[in-house]
Amino acid sequence: MKKYAVLTSNMQVAPANKHEARRESVKKFLPSLIDFLGVMRQKEIPVIHLQLAYDESDSRSKKPFGCYPPLVRGSDGVKLLPEMLQPNDIVIEKSRDSGFFNTDLDRVLKNLKVDSLIVTGMQAYSCVQFTAVDAFFRGYEVIVNCNAIGSTRDEDTEKAIKTMRKYCASVLESNEIYSLING
């Protein structure tokens, strides 16, 4: 029997509010994502939030993030959107696009005996896509919830869906994932 986990990418204060276009794009998929996470939690599927944060020694920690200060660990912009987070969720900090790069994610998933990942969050063409491909290379089955991902520009999301479907993931809607999990 497959053991699933859900990953969210970058559902944080600064990334979600970087500029007006970003805020609008997040509005489009956030309600679906929150509903989806609720159902997953009811089914006791682990929810893991990948949180972008830079160490002060990282050159990226010097660059402002849109209208926010740099995404330095512990800063307000780094915080996860409160509506995303529940007490039993797992939070893993990352500093690059893939959630696996120099993080404990792989170890955490192996400890949970997870073999199938449901990928959500933003931006679809960067952190979501490259976490999906990294997971695929590491041998996980990868499912992308197309109702629960987004990018500032819709065309970027569409392109990412196309390439992920072509190379590394099944792309499904929330209802299709519920059916899959219910067997």
Binding site: D97, F130, V133
Partner: protein
């Protein structure tokens, strides 16, 4: 700030601390390949009567990557630039610009790498320099090199003017692998263990194929910044012929194609650091590929194009579907600091 484990300003002032860095770290690490005598000039015999000379600077970010580092890149990049002219690379200079606070342990790793690659390429470090600048004035370490190689007395350098109509084009390795590896290592894209840098010293294989095929080999270029697309455009503009590239014959690793598509980059513009474009007579191309395929660094060599006389000079790609499209040079891409 301890001068024992990190670079401080006084390491670059020419005083006792500078001497200690040289005597305790740099010279011992480079001893097997260092010919200098700590004087203002390195002195060495000249071989033959024609030399090739090149210079290059290395500012790669990150300085350590999956299967290499800035030191390996500096040696291979310089050696390959000399070797593609047909010269035998012999002497290099090394100039380090170090950021205050840079760890001496990291400098030592880079020196080990320089020594290893110089030994493989059979080149010697004839002179060097070390400067230290303030925190933030450079990013950890930059390296500048110069390289000198020599031609045998009866050997003519390879040159663009030797390229003929109907010549075949061979590409010796997977296109774009260095670029994808570095981008992935820098941004954590998930490809960094699947696609490795091709950075390698190619002078041995170049010397061997030149010995075997001599005049049949007309020209070579080291495919670096700008990738296949830019260097072929530069060549086509100079020779007055068009270059046709067959997409289905270009050596490409599937994961590189995948990464390029996800990044929205044409792999033909991605950098290599151990890949050659060779123009040769059509009658030797298959035998040349057979020889190249026996070497680790050129095992994926393939005849993938030809030189043709056309009304309009340019570089063209014959796609897998059979259509033809122009390969343009690009104005600029945000792919800085790959070497």
């Amino acid at each position: 700030m301890s001068s024992d484990y990190m670079i401080v300003e006084d390491h670059g002032t020419g005083g006792l601390l500078s001497k200690r860095l040289l005597d305790d770290v740099i010279v011992p690490k480079l001893k097997p390949v260092y010919l200098g005598k700590m004087e203002d000039s390195g002195i060495a015999p000249v071989l033959g009567n024609t030399l090739a000379m090149t210079t290059d600077s290395f500012v790669i970010d990150p300085i350590f990557f999956g299967n290499g580092d800035i030191g390996k890149l500096a040696i291979c990049g310089t050696v390959n630039d000399l070797a593609v002219s047909g010269a035998t690379p012999k002497y290099l200079t090394l100039a380090f610009i170090l950021e205050e606070g840079f760890l001496i342990s990291e400098l030592s790793r880079i020196l080990d790498s320089i020594c290893k690659e110089a030994q493989e390429a059979n080149v010697y470090i004839l002179a060097g320099d070390t400067k230290v600048v303030g925190k933030g004035d450079v990013d950890k370490i930059y390296i500048n090199t110069a390289g000198v190689g020599f031609f045998a007395p009866d050997q003519a350098p390879l040159s663009l003017s030797k390229i003929n109509k109907d010549d075949h084009l061979i590409i010796t390795g997977h296109v774009g692998n260095h670029g994808i590896h570095i981008l992935s290592f820098r941004d954590g894209l998930g490809f960094e263990t699947k696609v490795l840098s091709d950075c390698a010293p190619l002078n041995k294989v170049i010397q061997d194929v030149l010995s075997e095929f001599g005049e049949g080999i007309h020209y070579m270029r080291d495919i670096t910044r700008g990738g296949v697309g830019c260097i072929l455009n530069e060549i086509a503009a100079e020779i007055g012929f068009s270059i046709y590239l067959n997409e289905s014959s270009i050596p490409m690793q599937q994961e590189t194609v995948m990464a390029a598509e996800m990044l929205g980059i044409d792999p033909l513009y991605l950098a290599n650091e151990g890949n050659l474009a060779i123009f040769c007579s059509p009658d030797i191309s298959e035998k040349l590929v057979a020889l190249l395929s026996q070497y680790d660094y050129t095992q994926n060599a393939s005849v993938c194009g030809s030189v043709q006389a056309t009304e309009t000079t340019g570089t063209f790609l014959v796609t897998k579907e059979g259509s033809t499209r122009i390969i343009n040079s690009f104005e600029g891409m945000q792919l800085a600091r790959l070497c």
